[in-house]
């Protein structure tokens, strides 16, 4: 439970490590349900198939004793507080198991008045990483099966959580694949960049899974579903696809917590997180803004400074 323990770098993370986190989560979840601190805890239960996990809301101490944490716990659970399970919050305080990237989403949602911090009990996970999409689920996390986003994670420690589960361990010497990919695209000639994205977007089937899974896409009516006026064509044609993904990236700019769930759930393998990463990089460079673990008053695109860069304006 000592999150501040000095961090270690290893070549693989054994199941025992996750078991220790699981124990800590269970202990905490049972406790807060017993003393009625919370009315329920959003966490992970074992999936039906071996090596999987599925999100769950537990409301009794008994159920809480079954919660787990494993490299298969890929989901960002914060989405269960705003969309799917929105009703839960009304009854009282809710506990939630949150990895670093999930906590950024929670912080953003608090910033945007969608959640109140005092209505949450955050069981922060000192997360060493989770499986990548389609990776082999051996129970042990290695460089071979870790998710792309985890390769360059900067929020292993869930600072600001009510409790933290786990000790700090991470895989050593991982190449930052996403950053390299982003640099590769940026280095392309403009026409090639267009071709790259055109190819990706043209595959989009507009299943809207990316929207569904995003903690920040909590609007009750999406701009892109409106037809009076229709700002974004809704059928899966290349023009509308391009518009949808640009609008999505723009709407998430300055808000996205980088959980990369959109990319994980995309059935067409569109590298959506690259767009989010690119916007985050720009806002860091221009306005020194980074999505953090704690709520802020205003996001970078909801505020300004008089001396903001305007070198692009004539």
């Amino acid at each position: 439970m000592n999150a501040k323990a000095s961090k270690t770098h290893v070549t693989c993370i054994e199941p025992a490590y996750y078991e220790a986190i699981t124990e800590a989560i269970r202990k905490e979840a049972v406790q807060i349900l017993k003393d009625e601190t919370v009315v329920g805890v959003v966490g992970y239960l074992p999936g039906r198939r071996k090596g999987t996990a599925s999100p769950a809301l537990v409301t009794t101490a008994e159920e809480a004793g079954k919660l787990i944490f494993s490299p298969a716990c890929v989901n960002n659970l914060s989405v269960y507080l705003t969309k799917a399970k929105k009703g839960v919050l009304k009854k009282g305080k809710v506990g939630i198991v949150a990895k670093g990237c999930d906590m950024r989403a929670l912080a953003g949602l608090i910033t945007e008045s969608q959640l109140q911090r005092e209505e949450l009990f955050i069981i922060g996970v000192v997360c060493p990483g989770v499986y990548g999409f389609g990776a082999e689920r051996t129970g042990t996390l290695t460089e071979a099966n870790i998710a792309r986003k985890c390769r360059e994670c900067s929020v292993h420690l869930p600072d600001g959580a009510d409790v933290a589960a786990g000790t700090h361990t991470e895989l050593a010497d991982l190449t930052p694949e996403e950053a390299e990919e982003m640099a590769r695209i940026e280095a392309m000639p403009q026409a090639e960049r267009w071709a790259f994205w055109k190819e990706h977007f043209s595959r989009c089937i507009r299943c809207m899974a990316c929207r569904q899974v995003c903690p920040f896409c909590y609007c009750e009516q999406c701009l892109c579903d409106k037809n009076r006026p229709q700002a974004v064509e809704s059928s899966p044609r290349p023009a509308g696809n391009m518009a949808w993904h640009l609008v999505r990236a723009m709407h998430l700019a300055g808000r996205c917590g980088g959980c990369a769930e959109c990319e994980r759930v995309c059935p067409m393998d569109i590298p959506l997180n690259l767009l989010n990463r690119r916007m985050a990089k720009e806002l860091k460079e221009l306005y020194d803004f980074e999505a953090g673990l704690n709520p802020v008053e205003k996001g970078p695109l909801n505020q300004y400074k008089e001396d903001d860069d305007q070198s692009f304006i004539k």
């Binding site: 945007e112 609007c219 009750e220 009516q221 006026p229 229709q230 996001g299 695109l301 909801n302 505020q303």
Partner: protein, 665 residues
């Protein structure tokens, strides 16, 4: 299907010279939903407007587009006409085919094509437009006047006499402003204080006027008819209610050698003081920076000698919020100084005059104090350095003013007249003295003004030299003034005992900060901008705020008083109605879809967006949504561009309208 009418104006030949208006009208007629189109020589003329009204009735039009000049020119005209014809005025739009087309392109084919496109776009805007009803807001019939000089006093008295309550806020401990400092006034040479002090007393005694001196504007919220103004009452250290104004504290104060601001630093005052004997209110104030008690904690003489126990060293700044419906800004001016200005300052000092280091070079206001019977010399003209009576006095006009190279290009308007007055006052007081005046032009338009100036030259023996001064330096106890006389075409050198500079009139320090609080605009010199140079010289562009006096530009007393009364009249016009109508271009929230992220609230510069709770019939909170106060909303639409789900929409510029226009490209 809509029934839109398109009216294409020739504007004489202004449009038809480069745009084939007949073709434009014909093309417009072919746009689906356009029920009628025509072209006409002058749409804005009476027959033109009649044509429009008739067409609306005959063709049962439900929207009107006038393709003519800029909407900034005639939108109001045509909306009125449309309204007269029974249409909602906001269903009438203008397509700008003059400023944006016929005047800027010469190729007839291209210009006609562009005009057709503009009409096509705007037809879509009309088609998607909505009827809007003007918004009415209640009016608080109480006015705020900022500044207690002659402008503020006049405006406050006029409004108060009309039966409305007035709050008058003055930064200094007393009202009176610059006019109270003047010795005598042009062109009649009557004593300034003699005409000023009765007005000051009127203010103090008026039942409708609440006077706050030694107070400043902290914050301004709200909008026309409904301002909430936070006033900061600076700690006077003297209880105004207890003080009888006996003045014992001032005579007993051990610290007496503080330069008196009212005498331009040439007289002395104690640390507890009233600025001048006729001050209103006659309640002293402690200058904490110079008071021994405040600086070292040891003294307390004034508290000991004060019979009523009015001295209060513990007093703190206090704040009150005043609800007012209109604001008159009358913050006046200050005089330019010739000292070296900071690096990069747009306004320069006068190195050639020694940057203000020569003591016997003074400004016009200092001369006023020297000439005033209540001034530091008791009305004798004595120079500051050694107290001697100057026998040669050089007056220099346009110091700073009309000097583009010094950063100020405007004329300060009052200097010609007051310099003429100064030469007379000097001649009356120092019979064997000689006054010289360096001037560019004598600008004396005003009733009795030129006669006054001629008198200074012809009867009072002032020597006017047309030309400017290039350099002044101290030699012995004289000031050598080197200049030119362009009429004789020669260099001139005068050894003066005293030099009086007619320095430029500038807005008060902090004028820009106050403007920012008020949300009014100002020019590059920080003078406040009127809404229209000719037709709205008293109003600000911000509704409900009016200007009086030199804060808007250099003015003499008669002009200032006139403008103050005009501002008061505007306030009274506003107060004549209980409700007031405003443009309905404001944002509205779609509560069904708003999820309450309040991004709109974060970007709203007006603070117009509030959080509203939606509850079910049992009173349970369903959700929080944004709510726009239509009275406060400025109508910029930044909220709509920010809202991810577009659940907030700006009337008059809806996404539907804009998208339809883009589709028509």
């Amino acid at each position: 299907m809509s029934r839109i009418g398109v009216f294409v104006c020739h504007c004489g030949e202004n449009i038809s010279r480069t745009v084939d208006v007949e073709q434009v009208a014909k093309a417009a007629g072919e746009i689906p939903g356009v029920a009628y189109s025509c072209d006409y020589k002058y749409m804005c003329s009476d027959p033109g407007q009649t044509l429009l009204k008739k067409a609306v009735a005959e063709h049962k039009l439900d929207g009107v587009l006038v393709a003519a000049c800029s909407p900034r020119m005639h939108e109001k005209t045509f909306r009125k006409a449309a309204e007269a014809a029974g249409l909602n005025p906001y269903l009438c739009e203008m397509a700008n085919i003059r400023e944006h087309c016929s005047w800027v392109h010469e190729d007839r084919g291209m210009a006609t094509a562009k005009a057709k496109d503009i009409v096509k776009l705007m037809v879509e805007r009309v088609r998607k437009g909505k009827s809007l009803a003007p918004i009415t807001v209640p009016v608080t019939k109480r006015a705020l006047v900022i500044g207690g000089g002659i402008a503020g006093i006049q405006a406050a008295l006029d409004i108060a006499d009309a039966g409305h309550k007035v709050v008058l806020v003055e930064r200094d401990p007393s009202i009176g402003g610059h006019m109270a400092q003047l010795s005598e006034t042009f062109p009649t040479l009557d004593c300034s204080q003699c005409i000023m002090t009765p007005k000051m007393v009127d203010v103090a005694n008026h039942p409708n006027i609440t006077l706050f001196t030694y107070s400043e504007i902290e914050k301004v919220e709200g909008y026309i008819g409904n301002f909430q103004v936070t006033v900061k009452h600076k700690a006077r250290s003297v209880d105004e209610k207890k003080c009888t104004g006996c003045g014992v504290c001032m005579t007993k104060c051990p610290k007496k050698k503080i330069p008196n601001e009212f005498d331009q630093g040439h007289g002395m005052r104690p640390a507890i003081y009233v600025p001048f004997p006729q001050a209103v209110p006659n309640t002293p104030v402690i200058d904490r920076e110079n008071c021994t008690m405040f600086q070292s904690g040891k003294c307390g003489v004034c508290a000991k000698v004060c019979g009523p126990g009015a001295v209060d060293y513990e007093q703190k700044d206090t704040f009150t919020v005043e609800d007012v419906g209109a604001i008159v800004v009358a913050t006046g001016f200050k005089l330019y100084t010739i000292d070296r200005k900071p690096e990069g300052s747009p306004i320069q000092g006068y190195g050639e005059f020694g940057y203000g280091t020569i003591p016997d070079i003074i400004d016009g206001m200092t001369f006023e104090r020297l000439a005033s019977a209540s001034g530091p010399t008791g009305g004798k003209i004595l120079r500051p350095s050694d107290g001697k009576e100057p026998k040669q006095v050089v007056f220099i006009q346009c110091v700073g003013s009309r000097a583009r190279e010094k950063g100020i290009s405007y004329c300060s308007k009052v200097c010609c007249m007051y310099t003429a007055k100064h030469t007379m006052l000097y001649h009356h007081k120092v019979h064997d003295g000689q006054a010289y005046v360096f001037f560019m032009d004598a600008r004396t338009p005003g009733k009795g003004y030129d006669e006054f100036w001629r008198r200074a030259v012809e009867e009072e023996e002032a020597v006017y030299i047309r030309g400017m001064v290039s350099r002044m330096y101290q030699r012995g106890d004289k000031i050598v003034v080197m200049g030119s006389d362009i009429q004789v075409g020669t260099q001139v050198e005068i050894e003066a005992d005293l030099v009086v500079l007619a320095t430029a009139v500038q807005p008060q320090d902090g004028a820009d900060l106050l403007a920012q609080k008020l949300g009014i605009s100002y020019d590059k010199y920080n003078f406040y901008s009127e809404a229209h140079a000719k037709l709205k010289p008293v109003e600000c562009a911000t509704a409900g705020i009016y200007l009086a006096g030199a804060c808007q530009g250099p003015k003499d007393i008669p002009d200032t008083v006139s403008q103050a009364s005009a501002a008061a009249a505007k306030v009274m016009t506003l107060f004549a109605k209980d409700q007031l109508e405003r443009d309905p271009v404001v944002a509205k929230v779609n509560e069904k879809y708003c999820v309450g992220c309040f991004a709109c609230k974060k970007v709203c510069a007006y603070g117009a967006i509030e959080e509203k709770e939606i509850r079910d019939r049992q009173g349970n909170l369903v959700k929080k949504v944004a709510y726009v106060n239509p009275g406060v909303c400025g109508g910029c639409g930044t909220c709509q561009a920010t809202c991810p789900s577009k659940s907030i929409e700006l009337d008059g510029y809806t996404d539907e309208q804009i998208m339809a226009m883009i589709e028509a490209l």
